[in-house]
């Protein structure tokens, strides 16, 4: 496929077959609600992952603050939902806030590059987390906010089936948008910036604008992911959107394959569903071993290392 050049890729038939087989197996082994709840989280994380793929994979910028953008979307959605703003209005607002956050985070890119810029996104994430703690009148600070279920008109997405449905529809829309962007003039500009900023500028590409747009669009996707996440979890607190989340999202993109849109889905499957698979596998171990603290984490880590060794370009990558 065109992976080496980094243009948008679609998972082939075989990939879809694998995913469908995994889904069927999950439903069979786990039961419907458990499998659907996982599907909702996988799809939601894939939306956030698409945001990272745009910034990191397409435009070649390292963002360590994507978790904070997710937090902005989640908090926006929570605050609006608690004030009775209908989701049809609050979801676009959450996306807009994520996009706005992305724009803010991208400002230092005009002067900084590489690792220095990555550090500035890290600082941005810290500022957002701190703001969520401090702005108590709005966020109730560290005590967190309980979030009601997602209500679209008269329909309330309370069951895992409804949540999975909403998440998958949102993912499909996000996916189509990303495909359009990546295939457009903007997508080509991103990839040019990724390969060589100076050459891109020499070719007449507005580098700063390309970077800003990657962050704005990626931020919007993170905002959407965060808004849905807030509903699925039902409780948001600042600590959930700390640096760990940013690293998890970055890991998601690299494991899945940051240069491909489908990398977001593969990465989300690994980050969300693999620990559950590991947990099921651990139950089969002898009781002494299965009871060891942290064994699931250790096994998850081991599987990740193997994945990275076998597919350094990510699961969606060609090699």
């Amino acid at each position: 496929m065109d992976g080496a050049h980094g243009s948008p890729s679609r998972p082939g038939f075989a990939a879809w077959a694998v995913i469908m087989a995994l889904a069927a197996l999950a439903v069979w082994v786990l039961g419907v609600d458990y499998a659907l709840a996982q599907a909702a989280f996988v799809a939601t994380w894939a939306i956030a992952g698409l945001g990272v793929v745009l910034v990191v994979g397409q435009c070649g910028q390292v963002s360590l603050g994507q978790g904070a953008l997710l937090g902005l979307g989640a908090y926006a959605q929570a605050v609006f939902a608690l004030r009775g703003v209908p989701a049809q209005l609050s979801l676009p607002l959450a996306i807009a806030l994520g996009a706005g956050g992305g724009w803010l985070a991208s400002l230092p890119a005009r002067r900084l590059g590489g690792l220095y810029f990555a550090m500035s996104t890290l600082a941005f994430a810290l500022v957002v987390e701190e703001a969520l703690v401090r702005w108590e009148s709005l966020t109730r600070g560290a005590a967190g906010l309980a979030v009601p279920p997602l209500a679209l008109g008269g329909w309330v997405a309370e069951t895992p089936l409804a949540q999975a449905l909403v998440a998958c529809v949102a993912l499909a829309l996000a996916w189509l948008a990303c495909r359009r962007w990546a295939a457009s003039r903007l997508g080509r500009a991103w990839r040019a910036v990724r390969e060589d900023e100076i050459a891109a500028a020499a070719a007449g590409i507005d580098v700063a604008r390309a970077k800003t747009l990657a962050f704005v669009l990626g931020g919007g996707l993170s905002g959407l992911g965060g808004a849905l996440y807030a509903h699925w979890i039902g409780f948001v607190s600042p600590e959930q959107f700390g640096l760990m989340l940013s690293f998890e999202l970055l890991m998601l993109a690299f494991i899945g394959g940051a240069r491909h849109l489908s990398g977001a889905l593969w990465g989300a499957l690994v980050v969300v569903a693999l620990p559950q698979g590991v947990s099921l596998a651990v139950e089969r171990l002898p009781p002494g071993l299965a009871g060891a603290a942290g064994i699931e984490m250790a096994l998850f880590g081991a599987v990740l290392v193997i994945l990275v060794l076998l597919r350094p370009g990510g699961l969606a990558g060609s090699r």
Binding site: Y34, A143, S237, Q240, V272, G294, M297
Partner: protein, 386 residues
């Protein structure tokens, strides 16, 4: 897909009607209980002994023939303090392991995220390790709690300390998160009842190691009593900093700092530190016969000495066993919660408090007591403060 779907629905209905005869998780020979713990995340230090304590109580019950002929089985899921994993773990335990109830889920974000799907599935949500008020109020038929919010303990403890020692300027060092804020509310409430203000307060970020500026500020304000809303490491660091600078002010740490690690890590520097405790630490030296035997068995079973969290795990599971025992052979969720609502347990061999539940009160205990580090171990100073 349609055929598959139909087949699945048919299977689901068949399974549901078979299960209707008996409560989920209760079979002829077994009661399955679920718990969502942190065994790999930031509070795994608590999660592992809690799990082991619960496991030990269930093993003890099983060795004695089980509860009305049924063995107890504990299924533990590791959520690593991640609410996303917690929600999935709750779904798994409800649907796949079909647990009868959830016991001692750990960590506020995980508890808050998992409580709705658990009670929606009709499963009792018992004694979570989260000081959040919504774990028992407003009253919900399936929510029970035995750990009061920090606010309750700290209100009484602050009042007791100020009244007995006659402090003039009470100050607070707190972690700037929900834990610290809860403690602040309690300290302020306690002082308000004595018509005194909180003289000075200063915060730190979780994970901080340097407390020199905070301690200097409190000292500068002329505090003669400092309440610490800190966890073990921060407690040691803050007290050590004060002593290092020659400030021998009286300090009281919350139940989060009441741990054997505090005096193990702090050594001489933390000598004389006051602490609030709900359950006493199970020290081997000077233990009564029953406790000494329990410590020996715990050590043999898990290869480490038990701590206060192990005792809490054991106590939590003990309450479950007692309530289930009270129900009799015909165990259903309704009968179980009804039994729990009339449960009143006496003081146990750990020296823990009485737990008393009622129809209107699903929080079993609101009281803590004062302890002090003397000769390198916590010594209990008072009875439970009402």
């Amino acid at each position: 897909m349609n055929l598959f779907h139909r087949l699945f629905c048919a299977l689901g209905i068949a399974a549901a009607s078979a299960a209707a005869a008996q409560a989920p998780g209760v079979s002829e020979r077994e009661i399955v209980v679920g718990s969502i713990q942190d065994l790999s995340g930031p509070i795994a230090l608590l999660g592992v002994p809690v799990r082991d304590g619960m496991q030990m109580r269930f093993d003890d019950a099983n060795a004695a023939g089980g509860v009305h002929g049924r063995k107890l089985r504990l299924v533990v899921e590791d959520a690593g303090y991640d609410p996303k994993k917690g929600v999935l773990a709750a779904r798994k335990l409800v649907q796949r392991d079909r647990v009868f109830a959830f016991l001692a889920n750990l960590g506020t974000p995980v508890v808050m995220a998992t409580m709705p799907p658990i009670v929606d599935a009709g499963r009792p949500h018992l004694f979570p390790f989260s000081p959040h008020e919504s774990t028992y109020a407003p009253r919900h038929p399936l929510k029970f709690q035995m750990f009061a919010p920090y606010q309750d303990y700290m209100d009484a403890a602050t009042r007791h300390m100020v009244q007995t020692h006659g402090y003039r300027k009470t100050c607070l060092l707190y972690q700037d998160d929900d834990y610290g804020l809860e403690v602040m509310k309690g300290v302020e409430a306690g002082l308000a009842k004595l018509q005194r203000p909180l003289a000075e307060k200063t915060s730190y970020k979780r994970g901080a190691t340097d407390f020199s500026s905070q301690v200097a500020r409190l000292r500068g304000a002329g505090c003669d009593f400092v309440v610490l809303a800190t966890v073990v490491r921060e407690t040691v660091a803050a007290v050590s900093e004060a002593r290092r600078t020659g400030w021998n002010v009286d300090m009281l740490v919350t139940a989060s700092g009441y741990s054997a690690q505090t005096h193990e890590l702090g050594g001489k520097a933390v000598e004389g530190l006051y602490g609030v405790t709900v359950l006493p630490h199970p020290y081997e030296a000077g233990a009564n016969g029953q406790l000494a035997d329990w410590i020996r068995r715990y050590r043999e079973r898990f290869g480490v000495a038990p701590n206060v969290w192990s005792a809490m795990g054991y106590t939590v599971a003990d309450l479950f066993v007692k309530a289930a025992d009270k129900v009799g052979r015909d165990l259903t969720v309704e009968r179980f919660t009804a039994a729990l609502e009339t449960l009143h347990t006496p003081r146990d061999f750990f020296g823990g408090p009485e737990y008393r539940f009622s129809r209107d009160e699903h929080l079993g205990n609101r009281h803590g007591r004062i302890a002090q580090i003397r000769d390198g171990r916590w010594a209990i100073l008072t009875d439970y403060l009402k």
